[in-house]
Symmetry: C2
DNA sequence: GACTGACAAATTGTATACAATCTACCTATC
DNA sequence: GATAGGTAGATTGTATACAATTTGTCAGTC
């Protein structure tokens, strides 16, 4: 039997729901960097007042996934190249620390690996169905679930902010399309983790992150930037 | 000549001001873990409506320095022993990464070390004046300034959340009084950093954190806990 | 035609009103 | 006296009204 939730308990989960909708849209790259997040529009979409939307946006802003421009409202963040380097540097630090901790705890959390295998399987399916958005999101969720299994809530929280920011960086700076290898990398990483092999797991995670970064064009010289992306984004904005 | 700020620009800095007042009060241990943060009272103190206070509290809640209890309001966080271990673990990871990055950049940010020396000097003065609260806060600010000099904004942000949380942990679990050595540790760390000696700096930071943790009573068995603290806190609450 | 200024519309920022909920106290009952 | 129930007051949660600001448009001027 389901507990009859009071209207205010319901609203708390609704808050979370709105947040996750926007979060997922960013992970799936349906929401492009720079997109304006108009409070009233979002309020109408989700059937709540601006108060609630504003709280959600403030959470996203705190996680640096959105930014508030004074008197102009909230926008999906557009990390510049310097931001991108810092974010990826921080993410590497976190991810290595996380796999280290998961490997250490491997024997005591054996039952909890199931969700990771499920995520990999779903990733395979989405990839086979050429559902790129879902595949990207699931890849992010794999990393977030790993963070949860680290048993360290602050680290989990930090990664929760870094994963969508990485998604924005990929949207802005990815030069080459991603090969299908990412899923296999997740698989091999998980195998090493189950064995509690911290060194191997850290090595695999490091390579995994290398592969993500290799596909980015993060040099300062504007000449090397992908012009199609630059103008493509303008076109996207105008069309929306 | 000072720009005449509009009322809304002023309000933005006011926001920051309220946040810092509460943040500092926690660093200086004037605000004890578990203290209720009543919205209307804070609004009267700072001369703003609950809307503004609520935004500040929500920021503190994101940083895990405050917690919202549904329909009961916000309280200063009370990390339990498990939380404390995770926070200190995360903090060590961050601090070591930060000194590594500061040491790497040492030659290119030479002019920026001045503030750190100033902070150490102020720490000495507060310590000499037996102004314990200020001394603790300045110690925290030293670590935050270090984080700023790392040149990595995400890492700086994470540490900004971990420093006040550490303050709460010390308030709750410190068994032995801190010796005066901490300031000298900051001095020696800074010397190593200026020379760009990353290994030495990391070693010193590791020891510095060891010393903080050594003074805590973080074992699970309740019998070993400081009973005076447990009941002292109740008395404090009732008296407030 | 390009530029400036002013007005109108749209949007955000803040305060406040109202509803939902919790807390404390009091009373009735055993 | 202890306990359950119920009412009043205090407090939070949400929506909304209003003020401040920005943005877009359109005359008017050069």
């Amino acid at each position: 039997m389901v507990e009859p939730k009071s209207s205010r308990q319901r609203s708390k989960t609704q808050d979370q729901h709105i947040y996750e909708e926007i979060f997922d849209a960013i992970l799936e790259q349906r929401l492009w960097p720079g997109t304006r997040l108009k409070e009233e529009s979002l309020g109408e979409i989700f059937g709540v007042s601006r108060t609630i939307i504003r709280r959600t946006l403030s959470r996203l802003a705190h996680e640096r996934v959105a930014v508030f421009e004074p008197n102009r409202g909230a926008f999906v963040a557009e990390p510049d190249i310097s931001d991108a380097r810092q974010i990826l540097d921080a993410r590497r630090l976190m991810e290595l620390a996380i796999v280290e901790r998961v490997a250490e705890r491997a024997s005591s959390i054996k039952g909890e690996f199931k969700k990771l295998y499920d995520l990999i399987e779903q990733e395979h399916k989405s990839s086979a169905a050429a559902d790129k958005g879902t595949a990207i999101r699931l890849s992010g969720e794999f990393h977030l679930e790993l963070a949860r299994l680290s048993g360290n809530k602050p680290l989990e929280g930090f990664l929760h902010s870094l994963v969508p920011q990485t998604s924005l960086i990929i949207a802005l700076y990815q030069a080459k399309e991603g090969s299908r290898c990412a899923i296999d990398e997740h698989s091999r990483l998980l195998d090493a983790l189950k064995l509690g092999d911290a060194e191997e797991a850290k090595c695999l995670m490091g390579e995994h992150l290398d592969h993500i970064e290799e596909r980015l064009a993060l040099d300062e010289s504007p000449g090397n930037r992908n012009l199609a992306k630059v103008f493509g984004r303008r076109a996207e904005k105008a069309g929306a």
